[in-house]
Amino acid sequence: MLEVTLRHRFDGFDLDLSFTTEGGITALFGRSGAGKTTVINALAGLLRPDVGRVVLDGEVLLDTQRGIWVPPHRRRLGYVFQDARLFPHLDVRRNLTFGARYAPRGSQGAGFEDTVALLGLEPLLDRAPATLSGGEKQRVALGRALLCHPRLLLMDEPLASLDGPRKQEILPYLERLRDGGLGLPILYVSHAVDEIARLADRLVLLQNGRLKAQGALFDVMADPAAVPLLGVREAGAVLEADVIAHAEDGLSTLAVRAGQLELPGVQAPVGTRVRLRVLAQDVILSRQRPEGLSSVNILPVRVDAVHPGDGPGAAIALDAGGDRLLARVTARAVRDLDLREGMGCYAIIKATTVAPGSIGR
Amino acid sequence: AEAPLTVFAAASLRGALEEIAAAFPAPLILAYGGSGTMARQVAAGAPADVVLLANSDWMDWLADQGITAAEEAQIIARNHLVLIAPAGTAPLSQSADLPARLGPTGRLTMGQRDAVPAGSYARDWLTHDGMWEGLQSQLAETDNVRAALALVARGDTPFGVVYASDAHAEDDVQIVYEVPADTHAPITYPAAALTPEGIALVDFLITQKAQTILEDHGFLRADHGS
């Protein structure tokens, strides 16, 4: 549980905001120059804000009014910097193990072997940072922060220079950190909404040094005010589903309130509950139950509300047996299908549209 | 006015030379240094009209180099060695008392035995009086006599061997023993003119007027003992 209030003036830039997080992963989202790095620096103790108060799990890390300032090394926050900031004189192995000795005795957290394996660092262990590629540096920086067993992880665009497949390997690991016995909370800066949607529990939106919105991911993502900040393409609903069965052809059956979905690439064991992200733009509506489609995921839904957008699109809020779904269709489709509140219809969700990355928890 | 003459002079002559310069009709530029340094500089073509050393070896060396003719060198002053101690110390009745007065830890300051003329005269004396070997570990050799004087004046060493002319100028020390002249080689200050203009100054240095000034500064006259 983190409470943050900060006020700081740079020449030409004013930061003035206050937000709270509640464990899990909180995403900090905002345009370039919005003040994300400044916030994280203040949390880490690398920037002393003009005015501020930071409380982590009841411990006051900063209180300018009461003159409290805990130095960075006693905050135990793992910081993955936007620029990797590796130690140039140490090889990769020594960079990774740098913080180990300062972790409190018996503290639990990421193990060396696991981290190295996950991040694919074995072949690099004896290399000097100067010889690493951009993405390799970023992976080492991530490993280094994890291995100091922090009580909160600050990540400033940690995956920006990683390729897609590598990201897909690391994201589940971060989820395990959050969900494992340790429940390591993470403050995560990213421009990639799909990363955020997959990972984050809470979302803090910054604009120009001010708080624009904060709250649970579902709420903020569904907040029409947030759409311009997040980008139209990324709007969507998040559902909870139970894993019912894994078939031999790799498809899994998941139960949501309105029915069953067949999805590929679900790793969670039978009986667990997972999180699905369904982008509004991936939902097709049909008045009749369609037949002979390559997509077998068809749920009966009821139109909750029709929100005409600014452009040619409209957002249709749907009730799927109690779950909320969002569909983005053209205004013309609204007219053609005569979509209106209370109307029953069918939502077609393409099986493969639910990205593996969107299945979490 | 006449063109000034440049004199390269041993630093220990400074006090007296300043007065002599005032008495000399032509303006003098006095450049001080160590005898060896200046001898080399003269050999290297230094723009000096007169060179005035504290050591006859270096004057001989200059002659060997063909810079000056040996017979042109003129002794302009002499000096003698004295044993000094901080003001208020009881005088020594004989040199043999020195080791006892030094005690086990006291040091005897003197010029460096090979490099500083006063040092080699002091060595001659101590050898002559049979104390050289015994005092080996209690010497404090300095790079010039002034430094030796300063050490004694500040009480860093209880005794020192310096020229009488130096002791004369320092109020914080007193002479506790006069070293007999026959215990060491004669202490002479040779001068040589390097240019025709310089001859006048060398000649002036042995005039009565100049010799008196030198005497006032604790030196012995050029003709002393002869």
């Binding site: - | 290297a44 073509g45 002034r146 130096d166």
Partner: protein, 237 residues
């Protein structure tokens, strides 16, 4: 204790020595800057056989007693040495001339200047220079517009050290150019001369204090300059 009152009472010779020392130190520092920079650059950036030897050669004036350096200078540039005679015939008299004091000061300060600049050059990230090259800047422009401003603190440090050393140089100077008042008597020589007379300590200390003041001014100036540059780079105003 030294009292500073007597500074005003210093005689003409002492003032002349101060002025000469300032001149010698400034000229020595300015003359050696480009050469020192060049040597520093070679030592910092090039790999070649004999690099260690060059570095040792640069350090040599530090190791040799100054008298030896002065003596070697006298041997090489004395009026009777071939090199000295050649230069003299070209109108460049060095021995027993203030320019000789410049040479001595320059040589004695050289290792300090080279080292400061070399450290600064070694600290410049060559990738920044690479970036300049890709923007079309030829080597020399890269040096002038990127490397040089970035190593400015090192150059400043080198200049201050060279200047200070030149102000304080004594052994090599007096051995090479002697101690002729008004011509080659620098402040250190004057101080030494004062120390040769019993009771001259006070005068010597006053002159030493004067030298100290000059150095203080130079150091304060350089610190202020360095701070300004650092501020500009860190973006503080």
């Amino acid at each position: 204790m030294v009292s500073f009152g007597p500074i005003m009472d210093l005689d003409a010779a002492a003032w002349a020595a101060l002025v000469l020392s300032l001149r010698v130190a400034s000229v020595a520092m300015l003359c050696s800057l480009p050469l020192a920079l060049w040597v520093a650059w070679i030592l910092a950036r090039k790999e070649f056989r004999g690099k260690g030897l060059l570095s040792a050669l640069v350090h040599l004036p530090l190791v040799l007693p100054p008298v030896v350096t002065g003596y070697l200078l006298l041997l090489s540039f004395g009026r009777n040495a071939p090199l000295g005679r050649l230069l003299e015939s070209l109108g460049i008299g060095l021995a027993f001339h203030w320019t000789g004091a410049v040479l001595a000061a320059l040589i004695m300060g050289f290792p300090l200047m080279v080292r400061a600049m070399r450290l600064a050059i070694e600290a410049v990230d060559p990738r920044i220079e690479d970036a300049a090259a890709t923007l079309g800047a030829p080597r020399l422009s890269v040096f002038r517009r990127v490397t040089l401003p970035l190593i400015f603190p090192g150059i400043l440090a080198g200049a201050v050290m060279g200047f200070a050393k030149a102000m304080g140089e004594f052994g090599a100077t007096i051995t090479f150019v002697a101690n002729i008042p008004g011509q080659t008597q620098t402040l250190p020589s004057a101080i030494w001369t004062a120390l040769q007379v019993p009771g001259g300590e006070n005068r010597a200390l006053v002159m030493a204090a004067l030298a100290g003041l000059v150095a203080l001014a130079a150091v304060l100036l350089s610190e202020a300059l360095a701070r300004r540059v650092a501020k500009r780079i860190s973006g503080a105003r």
